[in-house]
């Protein structure tokens, strides 16, 4: 019975793993999600006492997770922008997957943000009593709006499910929504640009934290632009990496090599620009901003484990190196270079967000301040992992029951169309 139901929901003609194996795959992730939900419940019910956050270390694992998944989720808006606005038709092969990834990333970020902020019954206060001078307000509004946009981008993919598409009214709505997707792509790009920037700007304006503070261009600190650029660069790499993982786990090709190559090329070029601007920004900060604030930059790297290796890892190993690989046509064509480079680019943006969140708060700001340490509590860790598990579960379900990769069917048809001359 359940097998028949499962088969009726999977895309026709696309082989999927047997239901039993799929369920076995989901069991540990669902268990992890359950523990994460319990941890989240404890934080909401008993407050931030359940965490190791305090007034001095107010941002921890959760904010790091938020910043990272929002940066990686930029693959959704950027792929949509490239496909619907800049007409890069090859990306049609991954747009559905990118939208699902974006939805997972943003819904996960909003969920964890709600736990962090607490008081869920008063969540609407942020909209009703907004502090318009706070960048966090802009981030909250943008995140909420963009999550709504992503939900409406996800909806047509769900409505194309084999069973749902049999209902004419849903099919017609899906068809029309799909035709209007360019508007969602533009709105998504607008929102994403702003909140990515605001998240960066949030650190750049912290004058009391010289490690994060940056000079302003007009009213925006340089981190505003660097966050946008790094997210746009890492997003396509994340789509590439997840497509590759899905392809390996399902043991079949899901997109043509040209699609990987294009994602790598876009990511690489943006990454080169980002590394260049990040290097300039770092040099200005080391030689001008920091000394002006009365702190020798060497002091920032005097506390273990945050030595100068962090700077090297962020800019060179996880920035310049993948950028060089992804901009080389020869290396891009070789999956042995392309895929690790995409993973490195994603790791680079994750490290950048970690540095901005954790290292910024750990470093002393006054001569008598100690170097702060922070280790997340199990509730923080499990709710963090719960979001990861939620992502895996939702993506797995989407992959099984929706047509995430339109080229999959084409690639499955191993036999190419051939000429059968029957008429002289």
């Amino acid at each position: 019975m359940s097998e028949r139901l499962d088969e009726g929901l999977t895309p026709r003609g696309l082989p999927r793993a047997p239901l039993r194996r799929f369920v076995l795959w989901l069991v540990p992730w669902t268990a992890l999600l359950g523990v994460g939900l319990y941890a989240g419940y404890r934080c909401l019910a008993y407050g931030l006492n359940e965490t190791n956050l305090d007034n001095r270390f107010a941002f921890g694992l959760w904010i790091y997770l938020d910043l990272t998944v929002i940066a990686l989720g930029a693959g959704a808006f950027f792929t949509g922008l490239l496909l619907y606005v800049l007409r890069k038709r090859e990306l049609k092969a991954v747009i559905n997957s990118a939208v699902v990834l974006g939805f997972i990333c943003y819904s996960g970020a909003v969920a964890i943000l709600m736990i962090d902020v607490g008081q869920p019954l008063r969540a609407w206060f942020t909209f009703w009593h907004p502090n318009v001078h706070s960048m966090l307000t802009e981030v909250t509004f943008c995140l909420t709006c963009y999550l709504v946009v992503l939900a409406f981008e996800y909806l047509p993919i769900v409505l194309r499910n084999r069973k749902l598409s049999r209902l004419p009214s849903l099919l017609l709505f899906e068809h029309q929504l799909h035709k209007l997707m360019v508007v969602f792509a533009l709105v998504g790009a607008f929102l994403s640009f702003f909140h990515q920037g605001s998240l960066g700007g949030l650190y750049g304006v912290l004058q009391g934290r010289p490690f994060a503070f940056r000079e302003a261009l007009a009213v925006w600190p340089s981190t505003f632009f660097l966050f946008i650029l790094s997210a746009a660069a890492a997003g396509p790499s994340f789509v590439l990496a997840t497509t590759w993982i899905a392809s390996k786990l399902s043991s079949r090709a899901l997109v043509r090599p040209e699609v990987y190559e294009l994602l790598g090329r876009v990511s690489g070029r943006l990454l080169v620009l980002y590394v260049l601007l990040k290097s300039v920004d770092t040099l200005v900060w080391l030689n001008h901003t920091s000394p002006q604030l009365g702190i020798h930059p060497a002091r920032f790297y005097a506390f273990d484990p945050f030595g100068t290796w962090v700077l090297f890892a962020e800019i060179v190993a996880l920035g310049l190196l993948p950028a060089l690989v992804l901009t080389s046509a020869r290396w891009r064509r070789d999956p042995r270079f392309l895929v690790p480079a995409a993973f490195l680019a994603c790791a680079g943006v994750a490290l950048n967000r970690f540095i901005m969140t954790v290292q910024t708060l750990a470093l002393p700001t006054l001569p008598f301040d100690p170097f702060l340490t922070y280790l997340p509590s199990w509730q923080e860790t499990m709710s963090f992992l719960g979001v990861v598990a939620y992502g895996v579960v939702l993506y797995s379900l989407s992959f099984r029951y929706l047509n995430l990769f339109p080229q999959e069917r084409e690639l499955l048809a191993s036999e190419e169309v051939t000429h059968v001359p029957l008429v002289a």
Binding site: R12, W128, S169, L171, R409, A413, S414, V417, H419
Partner: protein
Amino acid sequence: MFPWSPEFVWDAGHLAFFGAFYSVLAAIAAVLGLGLRRAVADARAGRAHRIAWHAAFEELPARDRACRHQLTGEAPGRVCDNAFDCRRCAAHPSFEALRATHASAVPATGPAGLHLPGDRLYHRGHAFVRPEPDGTVTVGLDDLARRLVGEAEVVERPRPGMCLEEDAPALRLRAQGREVRVLSPVRGVVIGTSGEGAAVTVRVDPEGPLDTRHLLDGDEVGAWAMREIERLQALLGPRELGPALADGGELLPDLGAVIPRERVDGVLGEMFLDL
């Protein structure tokens, strides 16, 4: 939050912030409203089946969208972009002109022992159309389709008086425990149905002259049947191996019964173009 709220201040920050926010919300609402309105208009105009067929057609791999003129060699490698509707194809008349004028009669027996009588026209979804002397047509399953569904059960047949649309489901069958929809090759009003299982036929009144340019006939039927058998072989062969050469013989009369259970659904969907 709103201009009437006591916390709202008429300054640039509030105006820019809320202006952008409400513009975004308005854009989202407008898009949804427009989508809904257009969907209702499509439903009222009866475009649902056409849209469904086009959506299914777009999902077909290039191999399954082979142009009829590719099958007969007039246009090697050509893939159809018109949802198998040759009436909308600008190149179709020129390819027709290319075809030899002395088209031979189609043999009653096609490749692999398939029975494909020449008095019928064939739809790519394996339904045939037989014009009757009284101006009506009979629609049924071609021989390959019958062998695929074997001892099928008719789940849903069109009621007399119902209007059939081209490329919209005409019949629903259950074979090997899986359901498949048979697409209608013509448009018209159903007069009646007869037969059971795979032998079911539908009598249709096209209500006017019947335009059959989108249906296969003549020499191309044999070429198409050969290609369909190749498709079937590809679908049934080991995925990692691809299609293997057959060594002759005839297709089993109840082919569906020997297809591995886990592949029946996919094979039926692909062969009947019911994705």
